[in-house]
């Protein structure tokens, strides 16, 4: 997929920052699938995920000036926009009303129940996630896919903050290894 890219990344970024419509069309053609996949990891409902994807591209369009190439790749920047937009969506009132029986718990004691519902049949990243040990998997699920801070998780799971941080990092390193081996 990356090999299909005909723009150099710096060139593409420059054009995007000039609000070049052609560059944005190219961006959509080449990145929408991967970003939709990121969103899908958090929101499985196709219609809602589509809405979020739309929102993500609008956000990219609006925030493109703030992207700093020295701090990371364009895709990484967009991935985080997609992830944050997805988390915002599942935390929104309308989302929680729609789910009704599946509220995102304010009481973090329910977090573990939430993590049990993890769909390990999901594609890509989440599929890899299923291979992690449970103690690691739930922490990734809570922090990466549900956007809880380390402090919130530590409090909710009654685990020391340092332990949360260490476990998450260990989990991430394992994820990386699995991703690179894929």
């Amino acid at each position: 997929m990356i090999s299909k890219i005909t723009y150099g990344e710096a060139e593409l970024v420059a054009l995007l920052q000039q609000r070049n419509n052609q560059a944005f069309t190219y961006l959509y053609d080449n990145y929408s699938g991967a970003l939709y996949g990121i969103i899908n990891q958090i929101i499985s409902d196709r219609e809602s995920a589509s809405d979020v994807l739309q929102e993500v591209f609008v956000n990219i369009w609006r925030k493109i000036e703030t992207y700093d190439i020295s701090k990371g790749r364009l895709f990484t920047w967009m991935l985080n926009i997609a992830r944050n937009a997805s988390i915002d969506k599942i935390r929104s009132k309308s989302w929680q009303n729609d789910l009704k029986n599946q509220p995102i718990p304010d009481d973090v004691n329910m977090l573990e129940d939430q993590s049990v519902k993890l769909n390990t049949d999901s594609i890509g990243f989440k599929k890899i996630l299923g291979k992690l040990k449970e103690e690691h998997r739930s922490l990734i699920e809570l922090s990466y896919f549900q956007g809880y801070t380390h402090e919130e998780i530590a409090k909710g799971l009654s685990i020391p903050l340092g332990t949360v941080k260490t476990r998450i990092r260990t989990a991430l390193l394992q994820l990386r290894t699995m991703i690179e081996q894929q």
């Binding site: 997929m1 990356i2 000039q18 609000r19 070049n20 419509n21 944005f24 069309t25 959509y28 053609d29 929408s32 699938g33 991967a34 970003l35 939709y36 996949g37 990121i38 899908n40 196709r46 589509s50 994807l53 739309q54 591209f57 609008v58 369009w61 609006r62 020295s70 701090k71 990371g72 790749r73 895709f75 990484t76 991935l79 985080n80 992830r83 944050n84 594609i123 890509g124 990243f125 599929k127 890899i128 922090s143 990466y144 801070t149 380390h150 998450i168 990092r169 260990t170 991430l172 390193l173 994820l175 990386r176 991703i179 690179e180 894929q182």
Partner: protein
Amino acid sequence: MNIEEYISSGIVESYVLGLASDEERAEFEKLCGQYPELVAARNSFELSLEKQAFDNAPKAPVSGKQKFLDFINQQPVINPESSKIIAMENTNASKSSGFRWLAAASVILFIVSGWLAYKFYNETVTLKSELQNTKDEQAKLDNRLKTLEEQQRVINDPKVSVINLTGMPKAPASSASIYWDSTSSNVWLLVKNLPQLPNDKQYQLWALIDGKPKDLGLFDPQGDNKIMLKMNNTQKADAFAITIENRGNTGGPTLEDLQTMGKAKL
């Protein structure tokens, strides 16, 4: 700092996936400026993540693309290129509106200046004509003044003698005076009263020398502004006489029409 340890601590993955705290992010970015191997590690994970995401990318819903394109096409003001165009259009608009104003102003100016030119032209014509009249009047007055001065000089000149010409039986009311400088031979005629003549007739002044007439000049009867007329010179004269002759008479005097006559007192 042991950078290898830092790289393998999971901070790279935490940073890239957006799980690092603000302080962790700041530290990571700062260290990236110092350790190229940290940047390389970050870049390596980013590429793996990107590859993984692309390899497993589902097909994005088709409807989204057009929606997005519609969105960006509806954002002309935020789009810097378009806003440049808008700015140019505004500039053009203001230029052309400025041009319109300029054109309107120049038309008004043209009309006003045309009217003023017409007005001033007419005034100039009037003034020129008035000036010419004044000049003419001035010249007339100058001439008259010169004549009167000359007349005054002649009258006051002790060498000049005055001969009164009195009315003859044919014209008893007629009278004139001759001012004659016998030294210089100059002769002036001052008409006091001579009747108007038909257009084909003129008065003629004669000097009588030894019974023979000498032509001293034809003259027309004057109106109210009677002035001294300079006539032909004569060295000698026994008497002066005025006759009525045909206009431009070159012959001798018609003595039967003798109007006035006076003897020179020599």
